[in-house]
């Protein structure tokens, strides 16, 4: 193999600086937005911006845009399996009230550490 084949794709300095600046600006935006009450959209916006920032880091700082696409596949498969983990678990935790409400929530909503007089062993204290 000749030397040229494995010459790294060298990213121009300006790209790094521009991405860095973008990340800082996005940080300011995400903090600012958090003070505006958008209801549930606060979470959506915050995660959206975070994902965009993470994408910038991955694509430019971590060279995923230029490198072997296998690395991209490895990275994305990690996110995919994480998604599977969270989503399938939530099919349980969020849907326990499908048939009966009483099975969805803990019997005692507050943990024993908030009950000053509770005897230390009667941890669940549920049945009365």
């Amino acid at each position: 193999m000749s030397k040229k084949d494995h010459q790294e794709h060298v990213i121009p300095l300006m790209v790094y600086l521009a991405v860095g600046a973008a990340l800082l600006v996005l940080t300011v935006i995400t903090v600012a937005v958090s003070y505006v009450n958008l209801g549930p959209f606060n979470l959506v916006v915050a995660i959206g911006i975070a994902t965009f920032k993470a994408m910038l880091v991955a694509l430019f700082f971590m060279h995923l845009l230029y490198d072997n696409k296998l690395f991209m596949a490895v990275f994305l498969s990690g996110l995919m399996f994480l998604g599977v983990f969270i989503i399938l678990t939530m099919f349980d935790t969020m849907k326990r009230d499908m048939i009966y409400d009483e099975v969805a929530k803990p019997i005692n909503p507050k943990a024993v550490i908030y009950q000053e007089s509770a005897p230390p062993t009667d941890q669940t204290g549920g049945q009365q």
Partner: protein
């Protein structure tokens, strides 16, 4: 006459230090082999003690607490210290780079580190036995594992550390398979053993970290009462089960996929026949690896998880069955128009096909929601997973061990005794576990120290089977160890295999190959290439 090369990886370089600091994948594989066989012995002794205790109801040899510790240690040792590293870390390390025509794995130092991490983790596990062994079952379910006063922390720390060993092996194999294949070896010209280990490695690197964080949280739960899994502190114990099974269900495929990989290899070599449906077998390994991440909730149908989750997990579970079934059919079809030799590895292969089929088919019972409600946590489940893990993985491991034994040591064991032993293993295994299916379906719960008199007959049969099995394994140990010193030289290619490990000497050179091999044919081209096994040549000349 076959001869053993004077300079091989076993003899060169010499000295204890050259072994302890070796970077040679073959030596590391061998060190793994010794370590896991030791723990197979320990776990096996625990199993025999459990069976002896269960021979009759009430107390036989140990107290209830000791019994609970015995089954916990039996499970934890067999899973974390034996089965998970068994095929990948021992046979995989020994054979995989040879098959690929590589000089070593991609990261030899990491490979050695993973062995030391294994030993370190094992030491924690052994320490926990001395320091009041855990009695939680290998599943460590909360809140029991939080409140029991046995040595849960040291055992979970051990399992946590062993996880890293497993991750590093998987990572090493992934990179090795991607980057170090011999010239000419494209993806679909790789031996199926490599494909199987590739799929296994994916699961190892993806699932094991979740076990790591789960055990870490459990340890924190015990020392700091963080409350995520502890209902007394507002946590949810069912969430622990999700965390645990997100690893531990894929983990059973970490265990079985390498077993399938060995069988794919052996059925072709010992019937001297091209494997039937190469690509389908390769793809189904990947499919199993992927689907295995989607089905963990089938361990939790009666745990109080939502009905929706139960339905989804049951549905997805069945789709793991399809690729497994396809593989079995492909293996049987491979025999068609072959030249089947009834060698010891082939007998174990047949045993695998029968036992794994039973294991797989009984899995269908447990995947079906309503039937699982009845069978969950009974001996039916115990029998089912022993059929897959032991009848599947362990039998495949012994098949592979007998297959590559002449390559590893350059010497052959006594085939006649080995075949008789294989038959004994098969009988002993079935005698142990078939009664467990029946009593499980009748409602005998698992993890019971004592039981109702109506189950006594079945338990007695099971105990007899277990001791027959133990006896057979003892014979195996004797003839295998004997062969290391006294066995007849086996030749470079005793079975007539086409893959690259048979192209080098037995035992291999420290650098595997004298020159870089080039891969010109498929791994199972028995229709194109005529190769006479060395063992047959030997017979002809005699």
């Amino acid at each position: 006459m076959n001869i053993i090369p004077e300079k091989n990886y076993l003899t060169y370089p010499k000295g204890l230090k050259s072994w302890l600091f070796t970077l040679d994948h073959k030596r590391i594989g061998l060190m793994y082999l010794f370590a896991i066989m030791f723990f197979f012995l320990v776990g096996g002794i625990f199993a025999l003690m459990i069976r002896l205790e269960l021979f009759s109801p009430g107390k036989d040899i140990v107290s209830a607490d000791t019994y609970n510790q015995l089954f916990t240690l039996h499970g934890a040792i067999m899973i974390f210290l034996f089965i998970i590293p068994s095929i990948p870390a021992s046979l995989g390390n020994l054979i995989l780079p040879l098959m690929l025509g590589a000089k070593d794995v991609a990261f030899p130092r990491l490979n050695l580190a993973s062995w030391y991490i294994y030993v370190f983790g094992a030491m924690f596990a052994v320490y926990s036995m001395i320091a009041g062994a855990a009695d939680t079952g290998w599943t460590f379910y909360t809140p029991y594992s939080i409140e029991t006063n046995t040595a849960v922390i040291s055992l979970t720390t051990g399992a946590f550390i062993l996880g890293f060993s497993s991750i590093f092996t998987g990572l090493n194999f992934l990179v090795t398979i991607h980057k170090l294949r011999a010239p000419g070896m494209t993806w679909f010209k790789m031996p199926l053993f490599v494909w199987g280990l590739y799929a296994t490695s994916i699961i190892q690197v993806v699932a094991t970290p979740v076990l790591g964080i789960t055990l870490l949280l459990l340890i924190l739960e015990r020392v700091a009462g963080i409350g995520i899994f502890n209902p007394a502190l507002g946590g949810d114990p069912v969430l622990f089960q999700h965390f645990f099974w997100f690893y531990s269900h894929p983990a059973v495929y970490i265990m079985i996929l390498p077993g399938m990989a060995i069988i794919s290899e052996l059925i072709s070599v010992h019937s001297h026949k091209k494997i039937f449906g190469y690509k389908v077998i390769a793809y189904s390994s990947l499919a199993i690896a992927f689907i295995s991440f989607l089905v963990w909730g089938h361990h939790m149908f009666v745990s109080g998880q939502s009905e929706l989750a139960g339905m989804i997990f049951s549905f997805l579970t069945f789709f793991v069955g399809v690729p497994s079934g396809i593989k079995v059919f492909n293996w049987v079809a491979t025999l068609y128009k072959g030249a089947v030799r009834f060698t010891t590895p082939m007998l174990y292969t047949f045993a695998f096909l029968i036992l794994f089929s039973i294991g797989g088919l009984t899995g269908i019972f447990l995947g079906a929601l309503s039937v699982d409600v009845h069978l969950h946590d009974t001996y039916f489940v115990v029998a089912h997973f022993h059929y897959t893990m032991m009848g599947g993985t362990v039998i495949a491991f012994f098949a592979g061990l007998h297959h590559w034994w002449p390559k590893i040591w350059g010497r052959m064991y006594n085939e006649r005794i080995a075949k008789i032993t294989a038959v004994l293993v098969f009988i002993g295994f079935n005698l142990t576990f078939i009664p467990q299916f029946i009593m499980g379906a009748h409602g005998m719960p698992r993890r019971y120290y004592d039981y109702l008199p109506q189950f006594q007959g079945m338990h007695e049969l099971s105990t007899y089977g277990a001791y027959l099995l133990g006896f057979a394994f003892t014979i195996m140990a004797v003839y295998l160890i004997h062969s290391i010193f006294k066995g007849k030289p086996a030749g470079n290619n005793p079975w007539g295999g086409l893959t690259l490990e048979w192209q080098t000497t037995s035992p291999p050179d420290p650098h595997n190959f004298h020159e870089v091999p080039v891969w010109t044919h498929g791994p199972y081209d028995y229709d194109k290439i005529k190769v006479t096994p060395d063992l047959e040549k030997e017979l002809e000349t005699a």
